[in-house]
Amino acid sequence: MPDAIATSITLNGDPYPLGGDTPLTALLERLKMRRGRVAVEINREIVPKANYDATIVRAGDQVEIINFVGGG
């Protein structure tokens, strides 16, 4: 489906359907992720927390969302 590809992003290495430009806060909400628990990179650039509201995720973006897991 070319339309789906045209509107999808790469999220943590896998394709993810976006459905048009989406504010980062809306994407995090959709993913049920709390901003205090994650950090976000778009196209290898870190998005500072203060910019979350103003940041728009666009089709084709490479998005990385990380959190903390158990480790030594």
Partner: protein, 267 residues
């Protein structure tokens, strides 16, 4: 010695890392536990104030998953993100930048692995990453080989601590080179934390008796049959080792010296 004087002697000075003071000299990891509840219980029992975590992609498909920070409260513990799994300076730097953006401070445990089988550090890449991270304002605690010269270099770069290994990560072999550690401790102007290789309580006590400022461990607690009990054992061992170091041990002698008076013997 008066009781007040005794109490003073027993009272240890806190140790400082990146401008913050800590009472506990045991730093614990959060990996390899059965679940977050066990992680939390073990961390609490250990008395640790600094807790290491790893940085990974969030699980997109399993969104309801609990988050580690819901169990290890960042308001109560100093979270120390690590760069475990990074094999290049670039990966480690990227990981630290992301970790800082989560919002738990700028203290990081830098590890750049050089070999999959031994998990020994890539010293050149560790130095390279440390230089960049220090410039970016990170408080860097590098995991490093027990090499005195590398520890000096890391200190010169501006790392807030050096963390020489006791033995390979997760090996439980204990302190393989106490002499190198003794040199590192003598030369260091920043805290020295033995990181990796501790197997049981006596290993932790030995590190502290050598004069280390702290011990960092994960597997020794998480991999024990009873992690909660081992967490307590490690807490006590670190305290005992530190106290013994401060008390000043007797010199080793080849021959006996009687503990009881040699005069007034019967007969």
């Amino acid at each position: 010695m008066s009781t007040t004087r005794k109490a003073e002697k027993m009272q240890d000075t806190s140790f400082e890392l990146g401008g913050r003071k800590f009472k506990s000299r045991l730093i614990v990891g959060t990996g390899k536990y059965r679940d977050f509840a066990e992680t939390k219980a073990a961390v609490e029992e250990s008395g640790a104030e600094i807790v290491t975590v790893a940085v990974r992609r969030v699980n997109i498909t399993d969104r309801g998953k609990e988050n580690l920070l819901d169990f290890i409260d960042p308001k109560r513990y100093q979270i120390l993100p690590n760069t475990a799994g990074c094999f290049t300076a670039e990966e480690a730097i990227r990981t630290c930048r992301l970790a800082r953006e989560v919002g738990v401070g700028d203290l990081v445990k830098l590890e750049v692995i050089g070999d999959q089988q031994t998990l020994f550090p890539d010293v050149a890449a560790t130095l390279e990453a440390a230089r960049v991270l220090v410039k970016e304002g990170f408080k860097v605690m590098p995991y490093v080989t027990d090499d005195p010269v590398t520890c000096l270099r890391l200190q010169e770069i501006g790392c807030v601590a050096v963390m020489p290994l006791a033995a390979p990560i997760g090996s439980g072999l204990g302190i393989r080179n106490p002499f190198n550690l003794a040199i590192i401790i003598e030369q260091a102007k920043v805290p020295v934390i033995v990181d990796a290789g501790v197997g049981t309580a006596s290993d932790a006590a030995e590190a502290m008796e050598l004069g280390c400022d702290g011990v960092l461990m994960n597997t020794a607690i998480a991999g024990a049959k009873d992690p909660i009990a081992m967490a307590r054992a490690m807490k006590l061992a670190v305290e005992a080792g530190r106290l013994a170091y401060r008390a000043g041990r007797i010199e080793r002698k080849l021959y006996a010296t009687a503990s009881s008076p040699l005069t007034g013997l019967i007969g």
